[in-house]
Amino acid sequence: MIDLTEANTNLVKEIFGDDLDKIGDIRKCYNCATCISGCPAAEGDPPLLIRRLVRKVLLGLEDDLLDDETPWSCVSCNCCEEMCPMGVHPFEVGLAIRRWQCSQDETYLPPSLPEVWEIGHTQSVHKQGTLRASLGLADAPPSVCVTPGAIAGFRKMLKETDVIRDNSYMFKEEEE
């Protein structure tokens, strides 16, 4: 039984804002499961089921949705985007739910964010010099982290974004 007395009737707006271009009109989702039929993550345990997430949003089941980690197993193949017959953007729905979860609970923030802040990448692109040289490549790709002065400008820009400002303790500015 679902208790709707606790429902957040404004949840759609809190998660998606007015960005109908990007998300589509999720009220048109009729639970057909086309978005699931080609979805690898629908085979996960627990499965990622976009149609179920859409129901949770429409019913305003805020607490339930906040605890639901399945959007994080998406492979971003965008197969569901291609297939939805109702003009909903299922992949964007999942992505927007992830952003909303991050804004509600900082433990959702991807651990890769501080890495990108620090060196501009999710991998240590500047630390494979020996291997790269052995193949005839430059020691490092032309990254922000090896271009003089570039990382400072990169961070200056990022510092003005909500996710960095609101969680500034995670994003340190060491001396260059």
């Binding site: 085979e43 996960g44 492979v75 890769s112 964010l113 692109v125 193949l135 996710v163």
Partner: protein
């Protein structure tokens, strides 16, 4: 023909042999590769796109602004980079989003018009360079070699934002394989994605391995390929490594990026273009055996 080569994070770090293959082959085909100097993460879907849309568009916009200032469009192999930056460009059709992004870019002395094209290597190879020129560029052909191709999911869907091939029935990577003389048969799970990207494999390893195994089982039962040809760094890493999880009875099939295969056909040194294993378990010698077979064949 001039392009900014966008390398992303994984390829230059984990599989630089693929990077080497891409650089050597494109240059030989007359593409002038310009460095996207100062680039950062695209940013990957699991980073800013999943936490802050404004930041995500700023980081993508910054990469595109660098290419624009250098006067080039972008060429990219990584499916995720391609998808993220194509989606970003699509978002920039919205004036408000472009304006907001430029306000942030200004802090880094950059600006972006929204007009840089992001091209996947399959698109570049097939539609710009063409199969005929590729066929004429090789010293060894793949006659007698059976290849299956892995279409990178991120380059197919959604077609209105990503498309350069038929999204429901793609053929261009297969045709590129045929241009090298390979037999490229279809099989039932050809268009199933590899399942290696994002959180699925990280959070649901056993299910992700099963998902990939079904695909590999289908290719072995139906066509018994000598090589799996990909054109995405995630497909390359995952389809290599996941085979090590299939158990003792599994005979691994070498997996190569298309440009690595092309490099072998062009006669480049296998040590430079196919030699890196990102996990010690992957049998690289299988790749070298394949390379030996290829380099023995002259162009017919």
């Amino acid at each position: 023909m001039k392009y900014g080569l966008f390398l992303g994070c994984n390829m230059p770090t984990i599989r630089p042999d693929a990077e080497r293959g891409i650089r050597l082959t494109l240059e030989k085909l007359g593409v002038d590769l310009v460095e996207v100097q100062g680039y950062a993460c695209c940013p990957g879907y699991g980073t800013f796109p999943a936490s802050d849309e404004v930041a995500s568009l700023a980081v993508s916009g910054r990469n595109l602004a660098i290419a624009e200032a250098a006067g080039v469009d972008i060429a990219v192999q990584c499916g995720s980079c391609y998808s993220v930056m194509r989606h970003a460009n699509h978002s920039f059709h919205n004036e408000e989003k472009l304006k907001k992004t430029n306000a942030l870019l200004q802090l880094d002395d950059k600006q972006y018009s929204g007009h840089v094209k992001v091209k996947h290597l399959i698109d570049l190879l097939y539609n710009e360079i063409g199969t005929e020129k590729i066929s004429n560029s090789i010293e060894h052909n793949l006659e007698g070699i059976k290849a299956v191709v892995q279409y990178p999911c991120h380059t197919l869907w959604p077609e209105d934002v990503m498309g350069f091939d038929d999204a429901r029935n793609p053929h261009k990577l297969g045709d590129l394989g045929r241009a090298l003389g390979a037999d490229v048969p279809s099989y039932s799970r050809e268009f199933q994605c590899c399942g290696g990207a994002g959180g699925f494999a990280a959070r649901n390893k056993p299910q992700a391995v099963q998902f990939a195994k079904r695909k590999f089982d289908a290719m072995v039962d139906e066509v018994q390929p000598d090589v799996v040809v990909v054109s995405c760094i995630t497909c390359l890493m995952w389809m290599n490594n996941v085979q090590m999880e299939f158990g003792e009875d599994w005979s691994p099939i070498p997996v190569l990026d298309y440009n690595q295969l092309l490099a072998l056909c062009m006669g480049f040194d296998p040590k430079e273009v196919i030699s890196v294993a990102d996990t010690p378990k992957v049998p690289v010698d299988l790749r070298f055996k394949l390379a030996e077979k290829i380099t023995k064949a002259a162009v017919a």
